[in-house]
């Protein structure tokens, strides 16, 4: 599903070149549930942005679902994001003026789905994340866990190959966080590929595979059983 080969990502900070990602290689198969862990500044966010096609590597190859995406134009990347990737953010990133169902419809608008079909699909997905009855509430009328479930529904709306979650439980209490993780495991069992960035070891160990990043390189890449030992 994801084939990353020898990618680097450099930033120019004044006179210095910062290597956020340094010659990194990573493969993730379809249906995997992977946690990317590491301290802040380790390059895990940059890696996440590259996997999510929000950013392009300075060098190296990145093949997503058989398509070479390194070096594509902004517009092509937008299309790839829309088609293959669902994002879940720490701070939910819902549009505050729009209702839950309208938020879920957003990626469907950019996928060119007609309004009636959008509504039907968005309603089904909200039901899937157990938010039926809350479809027409605005985000500020929902609890944190409910908001994150709206965000997950939105990420799932276009049937993406990959769900990318950036600290999905970071803004939630433990109990709600556990519910979200349960939902992720369910989704994985249905065949969705899940990649989650977190610095919380408890949350990370909910995945099946742990990738630890430091200084833009992969330090450890092991199944969760080994990690726990």
């Amino acid at each position: 599903m994801i084939k990353i080969k020898n990618i680097s990502r450099h930033y120019q900070m004044g006179p210095n070149t910062v290597k956020a990602i340094d010659d990194l290689t990573l493969n993730i198969a379809e249906g995997e549930f992977v946690s990317i862990v590491g301290p802040s500044g380790s390059g895990k966010s940059t890696l996440m942005n590259i996997i999510g096609c929000l950013d392009s590597p300075s060098s190296g190859k990145y093949t997503l679902a058989g398509e070479e995406v390194a070096g594509l134009s902004r517009n092509r990347l937008a299309g790839i994001r829309n088609k293959y990737i669902g994002f879940v953010f720490q701070s939910f990133n819902l549009l505050g003026r729009e209702s839950a169902v309208e938020n879920v419809e957003l990626p469907l608008i950019y996928a060119g789905i007609p309004p009636k079909e959008r509504r039907v699909r968005a309603m089904e997905i909200l039901k899937r994340v157990e938010l039926d009855g809350r479809e027409f509430h605005q985000p500020n009328e929902l609890s944190g866990g409910q908001r994150q479930r709206v965000a997950i529904a939105r990420a799932l709306a276009v049937n993406p190959k990959i769900l990318l979650a950036d600290e999905p439980t970071g803004a939630l209490d433990t109990k709600t966080g556990a519910q979200i993780m349960a939902l992720f495991r369910e989704l994985q069992s249905e065949g969705v590929t899940l990649i989650m960035v977190t610095h919380d070891p408890d949350v990370a160990s909910q995945a099946k595979r742990i990738v630890q990043v430091r200084d833009g390189k992969i330090l450890v890449d092991v199944p969760v059983e080994e990690w726990n030992r």
Binding site: R74, R97, Y110, P114
Partner: protein, 408 residues
């Protein structure tokens, strides 16, 4: 852009405009005022131009006036000719009458003097004008009651008088029939034959028309005419006709050239052109002032749209992460700007038309709404939206999604 994307952009824009009604209204207000100002001011300018043209046409059409005296000018307004030595003769008039009807329709000599008019114990002051039977036609000025003096009156130097509407009001009881009544002009008795129509200008309405022969006998004591009114047959050849008459009158007066002339010709076209020039400059000036306010309205839109882009940076980031292309973001913000400016423009058109009609109806100002100015103002508001909305929308579309998502 597909129709689908266009509909989506419109929906998003309408929603965003509606969610911030107060600010949207203030943003559109600039364009509203600009468009309303363009339409109102151009309507007032056009109205002034039309009313000037109408009052000129009321003098008669295709009019040339052959004046005694040396002063050159283009005045068609009757001057007090009593202090200018009349220099035009019966011979001049005969020459004019001998010209083909293809050149001149009709001509009428005219001399005037101020006179004291009395009827019974009432008296007033008016301008006594001696002329012939062609006068009503050449000046487009006819009796409304009774009749103009007759051929016979002219031939026999009879003291017959047609009085202006003001003179009638000043001398006679309302509703009284003046025809056949005796009035005195500078002490001489005249029989009233009719009342002239009301022209609304005091110089016309305080005139008294008497046969030229009678004028010469009782008032001027001279055979000369102060001026001759000439109606040209064809407006397109008036300039040539004027030159032809100048040359012939110079010859009749035995004068070498126009510098030595004891007459001059005023041409209605010259006056019309001068006035049209003045009023169209006036309209243009008013229009430009209004256009500047439209420009300021456009800058207002740009200002607010830039603020909106900054405020909604995170929203833009989210939309991009979910798959919005640069063009989607561009069209969303551009559509919003255009809806604001076009909405403002439409309300402005309504306000402008209402104000122009109101100024006419309640303010007594001449106004004539020009369809062109309506289209122009509307077109300008569309262009304003495109142009001044374009830059902020472009800025929005070029945002980096990662930066935009991090924006607090």
């Amino acid at each position: 852009m597909t129709t689908f994307k266009f509909t989506e952009s419109v929906k998003m824009s309408v929603r965003s405009i509606a969610s911030n009604k107060g600010r949207s209204f203030l943003t559109a207000l600039g364009v509203m005022i600009g468009v309303a100002a363009v339409i109102t001011l151009v309507a007032l300018g056009n109205g002034t131009q039309k009313s000037v043209e109408q009052s000129l046409e009321s003098l008669g059409s295709n009019l040339l006036i052959l004046y005694s005296g040396e002063t050159k000018g283009t005045s068609l307004v009757r001057r007090n000719t009593s202090n200018i030595k009349p220099s035009l003769t019966e011979e001049d008039l005969e020459f004019l009458n001998s010209l083909s009807p293809a050149l001149i329709t009709v001509s009428a000599p005219e001399s005037s003097d101020s006179g004291q008019i009395k009827f019974g114990n009432k008296n007033t002051v008016g301008t006594v004008i001696g002329t012939n039977l062609n006068y009503p036609e050449v000046r487009n000025f006819y009796p409304i009651y009774g009749s103009f003096f007759s051929e016979n009156d002219l031939a026999a130097r009879k003291p017959a008088a047609v009085i202006g509407a003001r003179i009638y009001k000043d001398l006679f009881e309302d509703g009284m029939d003046p025809v056949g009544q005796k009035i005195r002009i500078n002490g001489v008795g005249f029989t009233v034959t009719g009342i002239m129509e009301e022209k609304g200008s005091s110089s016309s309405d305080t005139s008294i028309f008497i046969p030229m022969s009678t004028f010469q006998k009782y008032i001027s004591g001279s055979d000369m005419y102060a001026l001759i009114n000439i109606q040209a047959s064809d407006p397109d050849t008036m300039r040539e006709l004027q030159t032809h008459i100048e040359n012939e009158i110079l010859r009749l007066h035995k004068l070498p050239n126009m510098d030595a002339a004891d007459f001059y010709i005023a041409n209605q076209l010259d006056l019309l052109n001068t006035l049209q020039g003045v009023t169209s400059t006036f309209t243009l000036l008013l229009g430009s002032i209004a256009a500047i306010s439209l420009l300021v309205g456009g800058i207002g839109i740009m200002n607010i749209m830039l603020v909106a882009v900054t405020e909604r940076t995170r929203e833009i980031g989210i939309r991009m992460a979910l798959g919005a292309k640069s063009s989607d973001i561009l069209s969303q913000f551009l559509t919003e700007a255009i809806i604001l400016s076009v909405g403002g423009g439409l309300i402005g058109i309504f306000l402008g038309i209402t104000t122009a009609i109101g100024a006419n109806r309640f303010g007594g100002m001449a106004s004539s709404i020009s369809i062109n100015s309506v289209f122009l103002a509307f077109g300008f508001s569309v262009v304003t939206g495109l142009f001044f909305g374009g830059y902020p929308a472009y800025q929005a579309s070029k945002l980096d999604p990662i930066e935009a998502l991090r924006y607090e």
